[in-house]
């Protein structure tokens, strides 16, 4: 039997050992929950302006292509590129010799037709006189019937010849007018006040008229006092564009300046839709369908036609909207409870093109939801098999992860419009809730409802 002192020692040491063993067991068998490093920020209210960005060129509102209607050699060219011309100013003259000769020929023909008409009139008078005199003789039975009919026919022939001569005169007159018109067209004048922005032809050059073919484009006259931007908008965005929407324009040549503009015209048909079907179908597989939108530039500046421009068209606007960073919204299969609750959280917002693109992409490859526009376009052309397989997948809902202590809660949200940085949240969140905004991998893959997180700086992530 150990002494009381020894027993006391054993008890104390045993107590220490027990405490250590218990703590060790707890530490070893504690649920090892991975901690995900995230960045977070609070849901805040902001003013949002949704913009559609498009690229295009600066062009004059009024621009006229100058092509001759008659062919020939340029004998006069008193203008040069960049020159301002007034309406009616001489632009060029084409050698008129051929057309003068043609006019003279037509005039001669006209004179000839007039002479023919005079002859026909005289013939008709003679035939008519003969007919009248012989008619009396025939009435008195002094003339045979066959001779009488001969005079009658002669008079009818003379009448027909006069009518033909009249027509010949009209034809000859028209020929004179036509020749005069062609001659007049050897002189080309400016059809509007403007600047010669393009001049392709030179003095002495032979040009082709547009009478028989496309003709030669001699130059272009532009009214540079009124300019517009012509930009190409994709089919997903063009439905958001309406006349009179405000636009911010950035012209590459004027880097430090932004211009204001207004949408004036939206093309009803896409570019290339009027082309031959074969050519269109071959290009369609490679290029997105684009619609031309014209934007009137409000400011005056020394724009040149063809300058590159980037337009930000303000399509929708929200004041004091609940917003979250774009990166914080992702997609996940709905929780079982959400499935039962119906399709309120399903991604089906036809008005929200960005969300649609992202979602389509996620469906096609849930492990890689990098937003690549081409994927969404490709998906629109997917065949029935793809559609069937997609339909069998659970519909994804848009979610954000709300930070609650050291865990996150997955919250389905309804998104509205977006700008470059933020989504509008129309349902699911309240002001001042803290949500996960990064990193990319955590939001797109790692995070799930109830996961443990720790806030920290952005770690270097390899883009999948």
């Amino acid at each position: 039997m150990p002494s009381p002192k020894k027993r006391k020692k054993i008890l104390i040491l045993a107590a220490i050992v027990v405490v250590l063993v218990v703590l060790t067991l707890v530490a070893v068998f504690k649920k090892r929950e991975p901690v995900i490093t995230v960045q977070a920020e609070k849901v805040t209210r902001r003013n949002l302006t949704e913009v559609v960005v498009a690229n295009g060129k600066i062009q004059p509102v009024l621009q006229v292509t100058i092509s001759p209607e008659v062919s020939g050699e340029i004998t006069e060219l008193p203008v040069h590129e960049g020159q301002f011309v007034h309406k009616g100013d001489l632009l060029l003259k084409i050698n008129p010799d051929v057309y003068v000769a043609g006019l003279n020929q037509a005039k001669a023909g006209y004179e000839q037709s007039l002479a023919g008409k005079t002859t026909a009139v005289a013939n008709l008078e003679k035939a008519d006189t003969d007919f009248t005199r012989n008619k009396e003789l025939f009435a008195r039975k002094l003339l045979s019937e066959s001779d009488f009919v001969g005079f009658k026919v002669a008079r009818d022939v003379a009448e027909a010849q006069l009518e033909s001569a009249n027509d010949q005169v009209n034809v000859a007159k028209a020929a004179v007018d036509n020749a005069q018109d062609l001659l007049n067209k050897t002189t080309i004048v400016a059809p509007l006040d403007g600047t010669i922005t393009t001049l392709n032809s030179q003095l002495g050059e032979r040009v082709l008229g547009t009478v028989q073919n496309a003709g030669t484009i001699i130059g272009i006259i532009s009214d540079l006092s009124r300019m517009e931007a012509r930009v190409d908008i994709g089919e997903m965005d063009v439905v958001l564009i309406q006349p009179d929407q405000k636009v911010k324009l950035e012209v590459d040549a004027f880097k430090d300046k932004k211009f204001a503009g207004t949408v004036t015209q939206i093309a009803d048909s896409s570019k290339g839709s009027g082309q031959a079907a074969s050519a269109y179908s071959s290009s369609q597989s490679q290029e997105a369908t684009k619609f031309e939108v014209r934007i009137r530039i409000n400011e005056k500046e020394d724009f040149r036609p063809g300058m590159s421009v980037t337009a930000e068209i303000e399509t929708r606007y929200r004041t004091n909207a609940l917003t979250v960073p774009l990166a914080s919204v992702t997609t996940r299969p709905p929780k079982p409870a959400d499935k039962k609750s119906g399709s309120t959280n399903h991604v089906s917002s036809a008005t929200n093109h960005v969300a649609l693109a992202t979602t389509t992409n996620n469906v096609s490859d849930p492990t890689n939801d990098v937003g690549v526009a081409t994927n969404s376009f490709a998906s629109t052309n997917s065949d029935a098999t793809d559609k069937k397989s997609k339909d069998s997948l659970p519909k994804l809902s848009e979610v954000v992860f709300v930070v609650e202590g050291d865990h996150v809660k997955m919250v389905p949200v309804k998104i509205g419009i977006c700008d470059d940085n933020y989504w509008e949240i129309t349902d699911g969140l309240t002001n001042d809730q803290e949500i996960v905004t990064g990193g990319y991998r955590a939001i797109s893959r790692d995070l799930a409802d109830g996961k443990k997180v720790v806030k920290g700086p952005v770690a270097a992530e390899s883009t999948p």
Partner: protein, 258 residues
Amino acid sequence: MEPAPANPDSESQPVPTTLWSRLLNVFAAPGEVFEEVKNSQSSTANWLAPALVYIVVGVISAVVIFSQPAIVQQIRDQQAKVMDDQVKAGKLTQAQADQALTMMDKFAGPTMLMVFGCVGAMFGSFAHIFWWAFILWLMAQLILKTKIPYLKAAEVAGLTTMILVLGAVVTILLTVITGKLGMTPSLALMLGNFDLKNKAHLLLAAVNIFSFWQIGVAACGLARLTGKPFAKALLLVFLYWLAFTLFFVGIGFGQMAM
């Protein structure tokens, strides 16, 4: 029948215990251990062995604790908070703060923290023992008016360090269990998030079971070496600990008192 008389030699000179026994008995019967230390010749093993054990536990502690991502993140958060405070106070520009944080991320990553922790454990172990030995020796000389050899004080301090070794083991386990920084067996366990720069947090962390145990054991050793009452020695050691703790918490280096 009268009992046989006891052997007078065995009464006056008890059988010396092994080092292993002394290292364990200091938890359960420190008075016996220090009595033996007082009465026996100086033994280097009495302070060297605890120092080596303390180093091993310190290294393990550094490796285990700084391999916890949550702990490293909490340290980063606290560094960032300090920088934010400096920026708000106008002592640093945002650019300088960002640069400093970048440097910290570069040079104070988990590996570097482990290295610093291991090196700190090596030097800290010896420094702690010799500092405590110096304090005990000083108390004996100046206050208790008893001359004791410094090496005897070092032996007491060394053996007393075994209490801190046990405390360090418990701290490692608590840190692993909670995944939080500053989880010592102290009142700091009540805190949700321990803040190294918060003086109240540091004071709570200083109220550590193992600190009080160490104070008691050190006081016991001092009393045995000097032959003075335990209560007097306990008061001295406690007052020293209190002054030491309040001083370092006061100047913002409360980690020294943990």
